[in-house]
Amino acid sequence: MRECRLLTILMLFLLTVPVAAFASPADPDQPTTKPDTSSVKVGHQGVTSDYYVPNSTHPLWKGAGLPIEKASAKIGNLTGDAVKGRNHYRRYCIGCHGPLGNGEGENAQWIDPKPRDFTEGTFRCRSTPTGELPTDQDLFNTIGRGFVTTNMPSWFAINDQDKVDLIAYIKIFSAKWNNPQRAAPIQIPPETPITVESIQRGHDDFEKMQCFKCHGQQGHGDGPSASTLTNSKDQPIRPYDFSAGDRFKCGSTNADIYRDFMTGLDGSPMPSFADQLKPDEAWDLVHYLRTLMVHVDSPERKIMIENHLQFKNEDSGQ
């Protein structure tokens, strides 16, 4: 009798295995055939049971970008597969960037700055001119570097192939990727020598370009326009404070700083100065900006201190 009961219980347990396996949320590799329009809620308004499955058959799907089978990326000898990228997106990215790639993940409402909206096709850290799409390498670097002082982690522990798959996958979100033509990265000539004159010219450029309007005369991010800056989604945003540390969102070498203002940081108030500065003027400005980073030892600061450089600051108005 006892054995009979035991057997029944065991059978019931075993039965739950296949039931649970079939009842598990839709495997992203098998698209659902019938989008459920009766309970469509995404993002911070609520979640559906298949929230965690980015699904191009979802009724709110606006992805006008490349079809998932065609989206690809190439870095070195690695080729990205967007179908695999979708699984990685689900695991790592969807909580912030959302199942529709529009930056409305369930966590987006609690974090500032907001996650990138991939449907806009606008990206911050690029080697290409303002308005252009980033290269695959730019996106690869971004994923690996993360964004300091934001919730975007440095995903260094994800292997390279997975990163390239992810880059292929995000091209399904914006129609801008449909254009096969891509802009080439800007040319960055070799860095000019770091000299007193270069730093002084850099200061003159800082005044001429009126960088202080946002960044402030000491680069503390306290310029007259700093408090009213908004990004392209009308969210308040602060300019970089050069005394804050040594890490920039788009890389911390001199070449990265050069690229920051020669390509502009799209989606943010930071414009491109490529039309206004010649390459050696740009390097001069880089050298000057290094002297504003008061907590970081650099050859530029060393020269500034050794030569007792003082800068006469222009008034922001008359």
Partner: protein
């Protein structure tokens, strides 16, 4: 001899006009109700520009003209043009100036790939940041005394807000068309769309605060067609 000459000329003109067979659509944009009170712009953060406006200029969300007319209303043909027809890009640029920390014109309409020619007439830096969604969203700095910036928009888009991040009150709008049948109403609310071929069209008027008004018209083979459009006034915050 003279008779024959003038007759031939008249014949030519008649023949030509029947080929062209296009009309102009002109009219006035008005609003019903009371003009909303527009707050003055505080330019204290940019004293140089503040000095230029005495009294201070008002926010340009609604710019009424005399007799309840509306300035800065974009009027364009939204339906009725033959599908697939392409129109030549005009050679002359559309100018866009920054003066007194305000955009001039406030609403600019141009064709795809037409030269968008931006100048900075102020002694302070501006950045030009068209917030395009279909076209590329670029952001360029224009310090005082620097060269004009030329740009092109290669896709139709209605409308693209333009902002200057340094001066947050600066706001303008761009509309990019793939056909030439558009106009922006002037300070008296008047607009003219020239050379519209005969046919049945939907005309849309767009005002940045009050949305759109549409009207259907039949454009005759030649001659002018008048169309007045009226917006219902609503408060603007």
């Amino acid at each position: 001899m003279q008779h024959k000459h003038s007759f031939l000329v008249a014949l030519a003109v008649f023949a030509l006009s029947s080929f062209v067979s296009a009309g102009d659509v002109s009219g006035t944009v008005k609003f019903d109700g009371t003009a909303p009170h527009m707050k003055p712009i505080d330019m204290a953060k940019e004293p140089v520009c503040q000095k230029e406006h005495n009294p201070p200029v008002a926010i340009q969300a609604v710019v009424p003209g005399p007799n309840n007319t509306l300035d800065n209303v974009l009027v364009y043909v939204s339906k009725g043009l033959p599908a697939g027809k392409t129109y030549p890009t005009p050679g002359q640029p559309v100018t866009f100036d920054q003066h007194g920390c305000m955009y001039n014109p406030h609403v600019t309409a141009l064709m795809v790939n037409q030269d968008f020619h931006v100048t900075n007439s102020d002694p302070v830096a501006h950045n030009i940041h068209p917030l395009a969604k279909v076209n590329k969203e670029w952001n360029k700095s224009q310090p005082p005394g620097s060269a004009p910036i030329d740009a092109k928009f290669d896709k139709p888009e209605i409308t693209i807000p333009i902002k200057c991040n340094i001066h947050p009150w600066m706001r303008g709008y761009l509309a990019v068309f793939d056909h030439p049948y558009f106009a922006v109403s002037d300070a008296d609310g008047k607009f003219t769309i020239k050379g519209l071929p005969a046919g049945h069209y939907t005309i849309t008027a767009w005002q940045e605060s009050w949305g759109e008004q549409t009207a259907e018209i039949d454009v005759p083979a030649s001659g002018a067609k008048t169309l007045d459009l009226t917006f219902k006034a609503r408060p603007v915050y």
